[in-house]
Point group: C2
C-alpha cells in the first residue's frame, strides 16, 4: 500500500506515523531471525533497530522517491537500508569508548542491555546488511542504479562521511572549536547520511543531475537545521521527550551550535536553514509539498 | 606490471613477496591521506592496513582473477578491497571488549597505539572504503559485475559471515563446543571472506557458475586448513614468528580444532583439507598451478 506522503489533510506527524509503521514492517522482514549459536547477534540487531526511532532518514528517502514515481517497494528497501546504516552509527557512537550513552530511543543503549562486544558486532552487522539490501536485484532491475546507491552510501558512511564526522566530534570534546569546524563535523557526521537519504530517491528514479543537486542542497540545509534542534533539545529537552540523556554536551564542555551561538541565535539559525531548505525544492513545485512541510516540522520538533 | 603468479621457477614465498609489494602500492594510493581535523582517522587506517600482513586474501583474489584473464588493475582493486575488509575485522576483533589483543602484525594493535575509540572508527571506515572501491567504475565497466562483488562481500562481512562467526567465537569462550560448532564458527569468521576472495576473480572474469562453485569448494577447504594451522601456531609458534600474542586460546580455555583434535590429528586434518582443496582445482588444469602450490604452502607456514 502506498501512502501518498503529504497528500490530503493528514498532518506531518500523522504521515510520519503511518510511514514509520510501513518502514518497521520491512525492517522486521529484512533483519535476520535469531537462530544458531550466533542468535544473540540477531537479537541485538533487532533490539537496536526496532526500538522506536523517529525514522527521519528513511522517511526522507520515501518522500524523495515519490517525487520520481519510484515504486514503493523499491523505495522502502532503500529507506530501510538507510535506517540500518543510521542505527549502526548510533550503536557505535553510544559505546563507552565513544560518547558513552546509556539511553537511546527511550531504552537502555545496546551495550547496556547486552554487552560491549555484542554492540560492536551488531553495529558491524547492520552496515553490510544495508549494502546487501541495496545490491539485491529486488531493489532495482538496473545494476547501474544499485551500484550507484552502494557507492553513495559507502561514501556517506566512510571516512569522508559519518566516520570522519565522529572522529572530529571526539577531537572537539577536548579542545575549543569554531563554528566552521562544528559545521564541517555535522555535515560529515549527520549531514552525509541525510544527504544520501534525500538523493537516494533521485537515484532510484534516474532523475537528472539537476534534481540530485537540488535535493542535496535541501538535505544540506535541512541536516544542519536538524542538528541545531538536536543541540537545542540537549539543552532544553528532557530524557522523556528525547529518549536519550540530555545536558551531556554542556557537561562535556563540547562546542556545539548552541554553545557557540547561544539559544536564541541557534533557534533563529535553524529557522533560516529550514527556509533555505524549502527554497531549494521550488523546482519540484507542488510535488514537494510534503518535503517542505517536513523541513518546517523538523525545526519545531520536541524530540 | 603483471606478475604471472606461479609461472616460472619462483617459489610461492617469492611470488607472495612480489604480489605483496604490488598490493601495498595500491593500498597506499587508495587509503585516504591524513588531513583536516579528522586526520587521526586516516593515520589509524594507514597504521593498521599498511602493517606487514601476509596479504593471503588479496593474493587469493589476484590468483583466481588470473584464471580468467582479468586485467591486473581490476583484480588489484578487488584484492585491496578484500584486504581492507580483513583488516577492519582484525582491528575490531582485537578490541578490549572482544579478544583483547595487544599485538597484531608485529606491532601494537590499533587500540594500543591510538585508543579504543579511534580503533572502532578506523574499522568502521575501512569497510565502507572496501565497498566504495568495488562500486567504482574503475573496478569493472559492467555494473552487474560490480554490484555482484558488493553483494557477495556484504554477505561475507555480515551476520551470515564474519560478524556471525565472531559472535559464535565469543560464545564458545565461555562454554564447551563440539567440532561442528567450531567448524561453523570458522567457516563464518574466516571462511566467508576467504571464499569471497577466491570467488571475486571469477566474478570479475564473468566465469560460469561451475567455476565459481569449484573455487568456493577450494576456498572452503583451504580456509579450514588455514585456520587449523592458525590454531597450531597459537600453540606451537612464537610471537616473533606470528606477529601476535600466542597461547591465548588455551589460556581462555577456548575450544579450537587443536584443543578438540590434539596437535597430531589437527596437523593431519590440515594436510587432508589442503589435498581436498587442490583436487577441486583440477577443472582448471595447469592454469591453477599457483593456487595448488599456495594450498600446500598454507599448511606448512610458520606465521
Amino acid at each position: 500500500m502506498s501512502i501518498q506522503l503529504g497528500k490530503g489533510v493528514a498532518s506531518v506527524a500523522e504521515v510520519m506515523t503511518a510511514a514509520t509503521a510501513e518502514i518497521d514492517g520491512v525492517l522486521q522482514n529484512l533483519l535476520p531471525e535469531p537462530s544458531g549459536p550466533e542468535r544473540r547477534l540477531a537479537e541485538a540487531m533487532r533490539y537496536s533497530v526496532l526500538a522506536p526511532g523517529k525514522r527521519f532518514r528513511p522517511i526522507l528517502a520515501l518522500a524523495t522517491a515519490e517525487l520520481f514515481n519510484v515504486p514503493r517497494r523499491a523505495a522502502l528497501r532503500v529507506a530501510v537500508a538507510v535506517e540500518l546504516a543510521h542505527t549502526y552509527s548510533l550503536v557505535h557512537d553510544d559505546l563507552p569508548c565513544m560518547d558513552d550513552d546509556d539511553m537511546r530511543r527511550g531504552q537502555p543503549s545496546l551495550h547496556k542491555k547486552f554487552d560491549e562486544a555484542t554492540a560492536v558486532l551488531a553495529g558491524d552487522a547492520l552496515l553490510p546488511l544495508a549494502f546487501e539490501i541495496m545490491a539485491h536485484v529486488e531493489t532495482h532491475a538496473d545494476a547501474e542504479v544499485r551500484v550507484e546507491l552502494v557507492r553513495a552510501l559507502a561514501e556517506a558512511a566512510g571516512p569522508r562521511g559519518m566516520v570522519g564526522g565522529q572522529m572530529i566530534d571526539l577531537t572537539v570534546e577536548h579542545k575549543p572549536a569554531d563554528i566552521g569546524t562544528i559545521t564541517r563535523m555535522q555535515q560529515l557526521k549527520t549531514g552525509a547520511l541525510i544527504a544520501f537519504a534525500c538523493e537516494a530517491g533521485a537515484v532510484l528514479g534516474k532523475a537528472p543531475t539537476s534534481a540530485r543537486h537540488a535535493l542535496r542542497a535541501y538535505a544540506r540545509d535541512l541536516g544542519l537545521a536538524f542538528q541545531i534542534v538536536d543541540d537545542l533539545l540537549d539543552v532544553e529537552g528532557s530524557q522523556e521527550e528525547t529518549g536519550k540523556r540530555v545536558g551531556k554536551d554542556a557537561s562535556l564542555g563540547k562546542a556545539t551550535f548552541v554553545a557557540l551561538l547561544g539559544i536564541d541565535r541557534a533557534r533563529t539559525q535553524a529557522a533560516i536553514l529550514a527556509d533555505q531548505a524549502v527554497a531549494h525544492l521550488d523546482v519540484f513545485g507542488e510535488r514537494a509539498a510534503f518535503l517542505k512541510r517536513l523541513a518546517r516540522f523538523v525545526v519545531q520538533r520536541s524530540h
